[in-house]
Symmetry: C2
């Protein structure tokens, strides 16, 4: 019934969960839909008896949960992250429905780790966390009451995953998608370079980096492309460094000549 | 976004819920998807602080919940009931997926009350309860762990309802579907008649009635058809009664002649 390689490649990542009962309920929701890799970023209380009580038989999912101290640790090796959002505006990344997002997630999950990323109960994911995803998903709710419980959201997403995987037709992937840490290294390299070349003297760094993240999230970068882009950055820096050296040499020459 | 008449006609019916927290979580799940009519058949603890805590803002749904002492009270006036089942075998009514069941439910909900019926935590709905529905729905789960929490099941069903209602195209209904109590009166009339005519001397009544319920559930009876069927039953009984009277008269005659 379930395609083992697909389910094995899916991580459910809960960021800064406040109530341990929600972690247990999420574990149970996952297991009913055949998913079992739970990652917890700085949970407030875990392990906790309330989590175990709400897991109601999904104890193995809790026992094997990976506790991480950063989103970078939780998403290491992941090539495609779907992040949940309750907001539809003020967001710079694509926002899709669960049903529309699943086929692409499944396509990646054939061969690589993928992640479903859920935020903290009161405020959801931060902009910085959302910026690390390729796709944002909003579970449509009634405009007067959009307060979906995080475990209920996990249930809906895992259900959509299971239903989509039933009718999923694998296709042969032509490319090697960039992994999470390759993307993050690229963004760090890009930001550093933009500082070096003085780009941020006229632009706000954080806002600009969010826009660039959006652009590259849409592009679904391949590993090879990351190499090309980083190569361009390196050459830019070297060019800049050479310019600087030449400028310093010329300046030294001028000083030598004038004395 | 949501079609008010559709959501107004949907009842979420929870039968014999054990844990009040599940009632609260179900109310919250309903409200996020625009549903608000909650019916509780003999809940073990309600109202209860745990229910209110888990409702997390859906207090109005709890406050307006209708507490019933029987399934007949909860389904009065309903023309189409979708009952949840975790089992796929040993069942005599149609079993559909949530996605397949929703369009028919929406079609009825345009003009008449409809119900989503959920069983008790440990054992689900009884066969008798399922026999009162037109369609059974199974939320597909992993074969090794099908233990879906009742509030999680409510979330999935209400979510499927909301998604389906977004793309729903109403059609003009041609018939007046029979209401729940008309169906039940017919089944009671049918059973009584079958007893009277001696049909059950060779058949087990309960099992036979379940089979007949299945047949008429599939048929989606109209009110007019109920009248026709009950008319047939009445004539059968009267014919039977006339036969009996004639037999008694003839017997009396024979006794009179022989003395």
């Amino acid at each position: 019934m379930y395609k083992q390689n697909l389910t094995d490649n899916v991580r459910v990542v809960l960021s800064h969960t406040t109530h341990p009962g929600n972690i247990g309920a999420a574990a149970r929701a996952m297991k009913t839909m055949g998913l079992r890799h739970l990652y917890l970023i700085n949970p407030r209380h875990f392990p906790d008896p309330q989590a175990s009580a709400m897991a109601a038989g999904a104890d193995d999912v809790l026992e094997n949960a990976v506790i991480c101290d950063s989103i970078d640790a939780a998403l290491e090796g992941v090539v495609f992250t779907v992040a949940m959002t309750a907001r539809l505006r003020d967001i710079s990344i694509e926002v899709k429905t669960p049903r529309v997002a699943m086929p692409e997630l499944l396509q990646h999950a054939q061969q690589h780790p993928v992640a479903l990323l859920f935020g903290t109960e009161m405020s959801g994911l931060t902009n910085a966390e959302m910026g690390k995803a390729q796709v944002l998903v909003n579970i449509p709710t009634h405009p007067d009451f959009s307060s979906l419980n995080v475990a209920a959201a996990v249930q809906v997403m895992c259900y959509e995953f299971a239903v989509a995987s039933e009718s999923f037709v694998p296709s042969v992937p032509e490319v090697q998608p960039a992994r999470y840490e390759q993307m993050e290294s690229y963004f760090a390299h890009l930001e550093k370079t933009l500082f070096e070349i003085g780009f941020f003297t006229t632009q706000k760094p954080d806002r600009m980096m969010q826009r660039l993240r959006r652009l590259y999230a849409r592009a679904r970068l391949e590993q090879e492309e990351i190499n090309i882009l980083r190569g361009m950055l390196s050459v830019t820096t070297e060019y800049n460094a050479r310019l600087k050296i030449r400028y310093q040499q010329e300046q030294a020459q001028r000083i030598a000549q004038s004395t």
